[in-house]
Symmetry: C2
């Protein structure tokens, strides 16, 4: 079948069938090289196990930056630049705790501990914590209905993932609003803290999943934390019995003044159009509970792998290619903003950008954020090249947070790698985002498809 597809599609689509054959063979070489190499295994192992979590401004972030620069050099970059930017410096300086107290129907006082994590950017409760009745709301409509009951209370947002959506990013996209603005909305009605149901569909686990929130200036900043789904289930059963529930909450989080970080940029200089830049990247920072393995260690390693394999195969790019390990995607995207701002200031030409920040799982294709129909038509003719490597599902949608600033600045056509999404939110921003939950073969397949796309864009351009 695969061979049949090649015969049917390749020949008519290209001026010369020989080109298609050459490209197909070159992409096969990419695949064989990546699948035979230990480089990506060694890189993801080192980044997760020797460096580990690397929150913006943390000591490990700086260690990761130095590592990234060295690995890009080793992979064959013509030069590596550390591009400075200022990033938010939030620190999580303690162990969050929560204890629920309630009376059962016989009047017995009972309590149990919840497994929680402070949301990123959140203020902490202070060492003395807060103690207050819990109010459950399943959504913002219920928050509004109960707005007069919230003063002095802790609001528990309990909006579940919609398991009937096939792509799990779609339910994440709908639910994330509770994490981002839940604290602000509750503070408006004088709640003292917020707890959210973790942004996950994890079956049978109780890990809390953190992630950033945002405060507006108009209301008091109140602490916010996430809890695991098993704790949510227990709490739900108390609320379903209409038992009054009180929570003692101690969380940690302090926003220090902005600090210095860097985008790490490896460059391959173009031979024909050095002034035209193709960007490929992921983000080097991570959340604090684990090793940032799939978010976004795999994106970083795949980015480095694209560079390594192009050099290993002696490919001479026509355009300049930037391999970017972006700073601070998780709680600010300041690295991405700096990269686009400097590019704008220097009148650079950014012709294409590719991001990998959706986990290292088996690839399905790419999400293209491209408005020009002619460009999309050209890219669609390349689909058969990706079929053997499972990357031929080309959809239209967002490419990624980091490259989005290039779109704003230059309308740069861009894409994001789309891995299979089923397992991503089991581990996303949780203690389980560790090396052991990276599948090396699946990560490598993603890198193969990324390298193939960069190769084709570079060789044929997009115009």
């Amino acid at each position: 079948m695969k061979k049949l597809v090649f015969i049917l599609f390749f020949i008519p689509l290209f001026a010369g069938a020989q080109n298609a054959t050459d490209d197909s063979l070159f992409i096969h070489k990419i695949a064989v090289n990546i699948l035979s190499s230990d480089a990506s295994y060694n890189n993801i192992h080192y980044l997760t196990k020797n460096i580990g979590q690397r929150l913006s401004g943390s000591p490990h972030m700086y260690i990761a930056e130095q590592w990234g620069a060295q690995v890009l050099k080793n992979a064959g970059a013509d030069n590596v630049v550390l591009q400075q930017c200022m990033v938010p410096h939030w620190v999580h300086n303690g162990t969050d705790k929560a204890m629920v107290t309630y009376k059962d129907k016989n009047g017995n006082a009972l309590q149990y501990v919840l497994n929680i994590l402070s949301l990123g950017n959140s203020v902490g409760t202070g060492a003395n914590g807060v103690q207050a009745p819990l109010v459950r709301v399943n959504n913002f409509d219920e928050l509004e209905e109960k707005k007069n009951e919230l003063k002095g209370k802790i609001v528990f947002y309990n909006n579940p993932f919609d398991d009937t959506l096939i792509n799990t990013f779609n339910t994440y996209g709908k639910n994330i609003i509770y994490r981002i603005v839940g604290a602000d909305r509750a503070s408006k009605y004088d709640a003292v803290a917020v707890m959210i149901r973790s942004m996950t569909n994890t079956p049978g686990q109780n890990y809390p999943h953190t992630g950033s929130l945002g405060y507006s200036d108009s209301v008091k900043k109140i602490p916010a934390a996430a809890m695991g789904l098993q704790d949510v289930k227990k709490l739900d059963s108390l609320f379903d019995e209409s038992l009054p529930v009180t929570c003692s909450l101690t969380t940690y989080g302090t926003m220090l003044p902005d600090t210095i970080a860097h985008n790490i940029i490896g460059e391959l200089k173009g031979t024909e159009h050095p002034e035209q830049i193709i960007t490929v990247g992921g983000h080097l920072d991570s959340w604090y509970p684990a090793e940032g393995a799939n978010d976004d260690g795999t994106g970083i390693v795949q980015t480095i792998e694209v560079l390594r394999v192009l050099r290993a195969l002696n490919y001479q790019p026509k355009h300049t290619i930037h391999f970017v390990l972006f700073a601070n995607e998780e709680n600010g995207t300041r690295g991405a903003k700096q990269y686009a701002d400097e590019a704008k200031h220097n009148n650079e030409q950014h012709i294409f950008a590719l991001e990998s920040d959706a986990g290292g799982f088996t690839p399905r294709g790419f999400s293209f954020d491209i408005t020009d129909a002619a460009i999309m038509q050209k890219i669609n003719t390349w689909k058969p090249f990706f079929t053997p490597y499972y990357g031929d599902r080309f959809t239209v949608g967002e490419a990624g947070a980091d490259v989005s600033y290039l779109k704003d600045a230059f309308h740069t056509p861009q894409a994001g790698l789309s891995p299979d999404s089923q397992r991503y939110f089991y581990i996303h921003h949780a203690a389980t985002d560790v090396f052991e939950n990276v599948d090396i073969r699946e990560m490598k397949l993603g890198a193969i498809n990324m390298a193939a796309l960069i190769y084709l864009v570079d060789k044929y351009g997009l115009q």
Copy 2:
């Protein structure tokens, strides 16, 4: 993009666009029902954790048969038949052991234990075991070169998986010959036993992977076992240093006379063409080291799920549908043979068959074993229905061992579910094929695509 595909493809391909919309909506209902239901979770949990391994002829096989009949009834079968067949009755009646002894370069005698499992259908060594020098051969060519050195020796087949093949079934298909006939080929040159490198690409693990072998009548049956990849690595280092290696091997395995087993067949009676039969199935038996979770618990559960969801949605099939839990796929395919033989004897009409026996991983599509180009053309027009559920990769190839007998008997057009293959051989026939390595969402996605295909074949036929 998905919406665009629908608009571009659906309308021209069908006589009426309304049909496409109705079908699309019905398949969406299938998806929502399956993703919202606990039935498949409960079934795979019970089959793996309460029943567990279910080798042909074992007590657990009979428990599994009773369970299967009950679950098919509960799922809404019009009737359930236990179709008797005779199956090989191989028993693994002991704990296999292997110890390697060698002298290092300083003459020190050293030894270590290997983690091994007897191959299925293999004779055992007897309780006293065998002790003999090991001879490493990387392939059959090397076996032939060394044929004069093999008398009284244990042959160690060390043919590795080719990690550069994207679909892992392709390398399995090339390597399996060493498991199937390795013992026979070595016995011809008077070797006393065989050890094989496990059929796996498991990174960093040491689980041995069993599976069936076959003996010919012309040579003496010698024992055969598989070892894990870490042990292979250690052994390799000894051979690379040309150190003489001796192995003490004790393995268990006895082939008893054939015994009774059953295909468990749930039926939905057709309303328009009850005499025309569509088959969907997986196999109920499993190997002995684990729970047969992905091989083929998930195929069984998906088969039941197709029945359950069609009934839950009050679908009245035009054709008769058989939901078959096949006996004895692993070491005989006698259930499949019986099913086809009886169908032939009864002059049944088998118009389509679908098998799921490639793991419960996230689906990619189907492998169609269909020679009639017109039928394949018709099926290809259905692709857009599968796109939202990631099952639209339609390839041409084998459908599955169990339904292949229907092809031999009736030229029945057939298909096999094609899940992503990257993780299958980590757990295939090993102690790790347990419930914990089943991803429930991924298994459900497979069931959705299977139900959609059965629905479309039933509604529109294949002619």
